[in-house]
């Protein structure tokens, strides 16, 4: 490609790069801290310190972490139990909250390393 042609192409691309459509960005992640009140098929309900019940959706990409002592271990959704202490990092998606990470602990023996 000739230099002048490439320069023109870059010029056109630079102009095109300025033309953008409008889209809403996601909100910041929120931390939901409390005890697990209810476990549904695709969500959990957390009782917070303020006494509120907050529902957080669980999705395929949600990560589960068992916390005991100073150690974090990978876990599964099936390891959650009502009454567990949870710290959920979630992103607002419309009116709902979608969990990115569910870190939890409970009065059970430490899960075996997977």
């Amino acid at each position: 490609m000739k230099t002048s042609t490439r320069t023109k192409l870059y010029g056109l691309l630079a102009i095109a790069a300025f033309v953008a459509s409008v889209a809403l960005a996601h909100g910041d992640k929120k931390h939901v801290v409390g005890t697990l009140e209810k476990i549904n098929a695709d969500s959990v309900v957390v009782k917070t310190a303020a006494g509120k019940s907050v529902e957080v959706k669980l999705v395929a990409t949600t990560i589960y972490v068992w916390h005991a002592g100073n150690e974090d271990r990978p876990a599964k959704v099936a390891d959650l139990a009502v009454g567990d202490r949870v710290v959920i990092h979630a992103a607002p998606k419309g009116e709902a909250l979608e969990a990115y990470e569910v870190k939890f602990s409970g009065p059970r023996p430490l899960l075996p390393k997977s």
């Binding site: 095109a16 459509s21 996601h26 992640k29 310190a49 710290v87 870190k103």
Partner: protein, 202 residues
């Protein structure tokens, strides 16, 4: 159509296109919260492709795929790159979500199909008009960048253990560290601290 009319038509069309482009640009006040259109993304990818020297694509990665090199790169990525790209390469971070253009999901084909040399060149030289800076130039940077290329190839298979290790190496401010400590204390049995609505976020 006469030559004069044709020139006038071209000028009118050009002015209309400029007006449309200006309206589009000014509509959201040049906000970086916008999402690039598919056309813009395609044009930008092609521009990036043209900008990378052909010779760079042929470079072979001299960093061996060893557990040590992968761990070095993983922790380096957690410390320097994850603030925009996220530990898992998704780009889903407060900064990544609000950049324009957004960082690509490094696990997807659009990135994984790039040659090792192209990835190396991008890490070393950055990408103009984006949030991607050039990391090259410092002593030892080339070796680090080649190791990062190895890690980029590993990203689609990142394990939960690796991601959790990375979290310990993510840069954190005093407030984040304090919040993390409080949350871990709560998980270990400390009383729950009530915070004002909306205080828990970053």
């Amino acid at each position: 159509m006469s030559r004069g009319n044709a020139i006038s038509l071209v000028i009118v069309v050009a002015i209309a296109l400029i007006a449309i482009a200006a309206a589009s640009i000014l509509h959201d006040g040049l906000s970086s919260r916008a999402k690039p259109t598919a056309l813009e993304t395609m044009l930008a990818r092609n521009a990036r492709h043209l900008a990378i020297p052909a010779g760079a694509r042929k470079l072979q990665n001299p960093a061996a795929e060893t557990p040590e090199n992968l761990r070095d790169a993983r922790l380096h990525f957690a410390d320097h790159c994850a603030i925009c790209h996220a530990n898992d390469g998704s780009g889903d971070t407060p900064i990544g979500r609000n950049l324009y253009p957004k960082p690509p999901d490094l696990r997807r084909e659009e990135t994984q199909k790039l040659a090792d040399g192209e990835l190396f060149w991008i890490i070393e030289n950055g990408v103009r008009f984006t949030g991607m800076p050039a990391f090259g130039g410092a002593p030892g940077s080339e070796q680090d960048s080649w190791k990062l290329v190895r890690f980029l190839r590993h990203l689609p298979q990142l394990s939960d253990e690796e991601r959790m290790e990375m979290e310990r190496y993510n840069p954190k401010g005093p407030e984040d560290l304090e919040e993390e400590q409080e949350e871990n204390d709560f998980l270990r049995g400390a009383p729950m601290q009530q915070k004002p609505e909306g205080a828990h976020h970053h």
